[in-house]
């Protein structure tokens, strides 16, 4: 089990600081909700952890492995960071079948076709393995994105508001799926949202992202609900 540590992380976009001096420790084996308003920099933080965006300052450490350090000029390529990522728009490859998406990602981790099929079954996509994303419903696409994220047996699972466009019933089943599958991840599962229902259903820990910095907070979504 490995924790994820962020030290003094600064990320700029177009010369403007989105994150400034972020410090946090995400505990292994737990689901942490990252709460913040729209535009607070939640997705930017996930992109920085995944290596899809290069911070200007700070360190990102997984267990004892330094994934990024500005001072030491370490910047591990995204595909070596062992990260499962469910994108906000899911980012499924339009030309590949469900099975191809999962098998292609999992192959590096030794996942064979049978195991890829089993993974699809575990997220409820039995009999849909040979369909392309455009042939799946919204909820099925979410499940496929989760299966793809887990295919390479990631050390960290990042979810960037993936359920923002599905109905309530589908959401409930997806919460259940995340609760069931996230313990399989060796490190933390980080769920970005500004939806209190998502947070309520998934959070074991929570952080508030505000003004470019992170702080541990106990159920920050309840404050907002109370304010409302």
């Amino acid at each position: 089990m490995v924790d994820l540590t962020l030290i003094d992380l600064q990320v700029q976009r177009d010369g403007r600081s989105i994150l400034d001096g972020c410090n946090a420790q995400f505990t292994a084996g737990r689901r942490t909700v990252l709460w913040g308003r729209s535009g607070a920099g939640k997705s930017t933080l996930l992109a920085a952890i995944a290596g899809l965006m290069t911070p200007q300052r700070g360190k990102i450490i997984l267990g004892s492995s330094v994934m990024f350090s500005a001072v030491d000029r370490i910047d591990m390529p995204p595909h070596r960071r062992r990260i499962g990522y469910v994108f906000q728009d899911l980012a499924l490859w339009p030309h590949l079948t469900a099975l191809d998406q999962v098998h292609l990602v999992g192959r590096e981790a030794g996942l064979n076709v049978r195991e890829a099929s089993a993974l699809l079954e575990s997220v409820g996509l039995t009999n849909l393995a040979l369909r392309r994303p455009a042939q799946l419903s919204g909820g099925e696409q979410q499940r496929l994105a989760i299966a793809r994220a887990l295919a390479a047996k990631p050390a960290i699972l990042l979810l960037d508001e993936p359920f923002s466009s599905v109905d309530r019933e589908t959401r409930q089943s997806l919460y259940e799926l995340i609760r069931r599958l996230s313990p399989e991840v060796k490190g933390p599962t980080i769920y970005v949202t500004h939806n209190s229902e998502d947070a309520q259903n998934l959070a074991e820990d929570s952080f508030l992202l505000s003004g470019g910095s992170l702080s541990r907070a106990s159920r920050p979504w309840q404050e907002r609900t109370a304010e409302n």
Binding site: H79, Y85, F87, A91, L104, E108
Partner: protein
């Protein structure tokens, strides 16, 4: 409104476009009609022509897709300049660049045969595929490629995600290049081998009988149409966006060896121009008087393509604008594309056939240029319109004024940059032409590109260099004028 009324209205809207294309195709129809009586088909040169065109297109698609994939996915130094320099290769025919390379002090001018020609033309036409691959890379959803960066190693990312998503662009680039090469005549002459187009021009020059060329023209047009029909679907997949939203690969910094790949095409441009400059440096004094005699030719060589491109774009806009929202116009856009794919030399011979059939009037090259490029301009308009948010047009339709005024005030200004680019491309193809000028100009008539080819055969090397540099200068002026005029005309203050 019932469905019959709706169909009638749609038909009325696409009718001007149909009439324009029919008029543009009339010389080809006249040519084929004249030769149909002979009832012969000469297939002897088709295998060699196809072998040359397809092998050169394969080289071109390989280089173009590799360079395009790099420029489309990583942030290389001086990216825009690299793209502009690479695309410059398309502003002149392959023979122009090759003649420049042969003037360099180190000897690469001894190459001959179809294989060498395929290599040379493959490199110089690589920007065709490059541009399509760049366009396709801008249609890849950003996060889909980010996901590939995250989940897959570089080699697997390229093989399993990038190239499958770029496949339509590579295929369209390959086929479009092959089609352009089916009409190529100068490179085969320079490298000493025959193709259908060289045979057509040779036979016509010997007999001046248009009907004699038809047995050769017919299979060539058939081949062009077959490749064109295979091309339109992948091409339209690239050119007409499938959906809206944040799109395009997010560029990441490149490693130096990868960035070096992108320098290949600019280096070819610079080497060729250096060859001409080197050649010119030898005889500056003798050149001054000679260049002065070329100035009238330079003036007409600039004016003709600019005016023809303006007419071509203007006609295309007038004909296609009413049909812009009619789905049935799409097959006509394909037909326009096919019309552009017919080699320029065949269009010129077609105009001669039509002129002989009617009353023996002479046809100005500009008319042939317009008839060939009007389909290209219609395609340019359709692409530009498809990329506009539909709501902009809807909002304009709510304004109470005549459709013509509405188009002038709201529709066309939004399309101005694309129409300018289309006009510049059409004008560049006209300036680069040799076949139409050599077939349609009256005795004594001259154009810069035609002169360059004639001079390259036997004139002193300094003269060839000077003629080429004059072509380059004319090319810059032509592209600037043809691209600038629509912008000025369509975006000037409407107050």
């Amino acid at each position: 409104m019932n469905s019959v009324d709706g169909r009638r209205r749609h038909l009325a809207r696409i009718l001007p476009f149909g009439i324009l294309l029919a008029a543009a195709a009339s010389p080809i129809a006249a040519l084929l009609t004249r030769g149909a009586a002979l009832g012969q088909i000469d297939l002897s040169s088709i295998p060699g022509t196809l072998a040359f065109a397809l092998s050169a297109a394969a080289v071109s698609a390989t280089i173009g897709s590799a360079v395009g994939a790099v420029i489309g996915t990583v942030d290389v130094m001086a990216r825009r300049l690299t793209i502009v320099m690479s695309v410059t290769l398309m502003a002149a025919p392959p023979a122009f660049w090759w003649i420049g390379l042969t003037r360099l002090p180190f000897g690469i001018g001894s190459l001959s045969g179809p294989a060498s020609a395929a290599l040379v033309t493959g490199v110089t036409l690589a920007p065709v595929t490059l541009l399509l691959v760049l366009a396709a890379s801008r249609e890849i959803p950003a996060t889909a490629y980010e996901a590939a960066r995250l989940f897959l190693k570089p080699r697997r990312r390229i093989v399993a995600v990038l190239f499958p998503l770029l496949r339509p662009a590579v295929l369209a680039g390959f086929l479009l290049t092959a089609i352009l090469l089916l009409g190529e005549s100068e490179i085969p002459f320079l490298f000493g081998f025959r193709t259908s187009m060289t045979d057509i021009i040779t036979r016509f020059s010997r007999t001046f009988d248009v009907a004699e060329t038809v047995p050769l023209v017919l299979p060539l047009i058939g081949t062009v149409c077959a490749l064109g029909l295979a091309m339109w679907k992948p091409l339209f997949t690239v050119l007409f966006p499938q959906s809206a939203g944040e799109r395009g690969v997010i560029l990441r910094p490149a490693s130096r060896p990868i960035a070096l790949i992108t320098a290949l095409l600019p280096v070819v441009v610079l080497l060729s121009l250096a060859g001409y400059a080197w050649a010119t440096a030898g005889g500056q004094q003798a050149l001054t008087r000679r260049v002065a005699t070329w100035l009238p030719t330079a003036a007409i060589s600039v004016t003709e393509p600019v005016l023809s491109a303006m007419v071509s774009v203007g006609l295309a806009v007038l004909a296609v604008y009413p049909a812009r929202r009619v789905p049935a116009a799409r097959p006509l856009v394909v037909a326009g594309l096919l019309l552009f794919c017919v080699p320029a030399g065949i269009v010129a011979i077609g105009w001669i056939a039509l002129a002989q059939h009617v009353s023996g009037f002479s046809v100005a090259p500009g008319i042939a240029y317009v008839s060939r490029t009007v389909g290209l301009c219609a395609l340019g308009f359709a692409i530009a319109y498809s990329r506009l948010p539909r709501t902009l047009d809807d909002a304009a339709r709510l304004v109470p004024m005549s459709p013509l005024r509405r188009a002038w005030l709201f529709g066309l200004p939004l399309l101005a940059p694309s129409l300018a680019a289309t006009a510049a491309l059409a004008a560049a193809t006209m300036l680069a032409d040799r076949d139409v000028a050599s077939l349609l100009l009256p005795p004594g008539g001259s154009r810069l590109m035609l002169n360059l080819y004639l001079l390259s055969a036997n004139a002193p090397t300094a003269v060839v260099g000077a003629a080429a540099l004059l072509v380059v200068a004319a090319g810059v002026v032509v592209v600037a004028l043809a691209g600038g005029l629509p912008l000025i005309l369509l975006t000037r203050s409407r107050g």
